[in-house]
């Protein structure tokens, strides 16, 4: 599948894997591909995101919100008389902001992370976008177009920035026009 990927698109995939690992996700999801794209400045996919006002921090905040509460079950702990928020605050006083949630976000998985089902769909759609445009390669712009479609946390971030499939295709046409001309 990756033989037609440009070096930049490969880098997005490698970054997505690293990001998924750091965030302790069990698999690579569309949200990790989106964050990977955002870390490849100067590539077509990243330029389209930047033009729509999607930046890494905004995307991370949105994805953290949709990821749901990480870690222990606060309601269940309350039945034992334990206030999870109080524990979290105490941990953050000692170890810094976010320390507790980082330690709680699932257990570390070693080895190679796989793509989840939605991320596989994103990559398939990226290939289809390339074919549709008659491109012989799959670049960051195609990965971005793949991310727009399935309903995921990442696509909702894009949708909120006004990046529908139609508008993103148009924006790519314009970007290519400017680059060529």
């Amino acid at each position: 599948m990756f033989e037609r990927f440009t070096d930049e698109a490969r880098r997005v995939v490698v970054l997505a894997q690293e990001i998924a690992r750091i965030r302790r996700a069990p698999r690579i999801g569309p949200e990790h591909l989106l964050l990977g794209l955002l870390r490849c400045p100067g590539t077509p996919g990243e330029e389209l995101l930047a033009a729509a006002g999607v930046d890494t921090r905004a995307a991370e905040r949105a994805l953290d919100r949709t990821a749901g509460p990480a870690g222990p079950d606060a309601d269940a702990l309350a039945t034992l008389g334990i206030d999870l928020d109080a524990v979290r605050r105490a941990a953050e006083r000692s170890f810094g902001a976010g320390a507790f949630d980082r330690a709680s976000r699932g257990r570390w998985r070693s080895g190679h992370l796989r793509f989840d089902r939605a991320a596989k769909t994103v990559l398939e759609l990226a290939l289809r976008e390339a074919v549709r445009r008659g491109d012989r390669f799959i670049g960051t712009e195609h990965v971005l177009l793949g991310l727009v479609r399935p309903d995921t946390a990442a696509s909702r971030v894009l949708d909120e920035a006004g990046m529908t499939l139609y508008r993103t295709r148009r924006a790519l046409d314009e970007l290519r026009g400017r680059r060529a001309g």
Partner: protein, 71 residues
Amino acid sequence: MSDATAVAAAASSTDPAVGLRAVVALRELQESLEELQVTSARDQGWSWQQIADALRISRQAVHKKYRRLGL
């Protein structure tokens, strides 16, 4: 939950769904706190043996569990 009576009732619930869910939450909380403390101990120069003694487990067990963190 603010009502102390309700807390006590839930903590000793005879409903396995309630009781076991609390046990799982407590285990996850324990794992998170252990990871924070082990990380902190390594940052402060503690050896794996010292950490293992404090946790009352073997050095191999603690090392195997936390080696992944690259501490």
